[in-house]
Symmetry: C2
Subunit: 134 residues, 2 copies
């Protein structure tokens, strides 16, 4: 429940999922949504671990995955920085969105739910929006 602010980052950590995964997801989201600026300095591994009351190894695991995503760059002895490339962020967004989309469609298919039914659900969830394909 308790939301923490560390620099321009906000964190909500609980025990429903692995800690490193929550840190990873929330930083990913902040970068994807532009809540933290391109090229900005990330909190250091030790600092973030201290603030979140979590082991440094746990933070490092999240940071390593962020670099694999191409969302951050590490400079030994200096720190971790958000990538300066808007293209990389955009590429990450589309790739992850595509994965989310595929697994969602697979779930719906396993229930025998067609595309038109999905569209129907979408309309119900957003009754006020006209929808992009209408």
């Amino acid at each position: 429940m308790e939301e923490q602010k560390i620099g321009s980052l906000r964190f909500k950590i609980d025990f429903s999922q692995p800690l490193y995964e929550q840190i990873l997801d929330q930083v990913r989201s902040a970068i994807a949504k532009g809540e933290i600026e391109l090229g900005a300095k990330m909190p250091s591994v030790r600092e973030l671990a201290l603030e979140l009351r979590v082991n440094p190894n746990t933070v490092m695991r999240a940071y390593q995955e962020l670099e694999r995503d191409g969302l951050t760059e590490k400079r030994r002895g200096q720190g971790t920085y958000v990538t300066s490339s808007a293209e990389r962020v955009q590429l990450f967004r589309t790739e992850l969105a595509s994965k989310y989309m595929d697994s969602f469609l697979e779930q719906m298919a396993s229930l025998g739910i067609s595309l038109s039914e999905i569209q129907g659900y979408l309309s119900k969830k957003y009754p006020n929006e006209t929808g992009g394909t209408r």
Copy 2:
């Protein structure tokens, strides 16, 4: 990779996810899609465990969840049967679809992706379909 048939049920089991979860998902899907008939007798816990080369406790865990879903009924001493109520199956379908939908929309929101962008992705994935809301 190896797909197994047990009665009218088909199973593909690997080690990417918990075994009980895979069994659960695949039986759910079979019932939701009508691949196994309403009121049909399910394989017994011991039989399915033997066929899938899995511990009976693991199968039982999946079966217990199926009953919680309202998709099966157990008759002590007789066996496990698929529910005879088409309404229950339909209810389950809509409830689970709604959950899938919500968590999907949450994922997309975490990437800062709007509804109209989602509609765009849908059109790309299904270029030949007209779509139910058009």
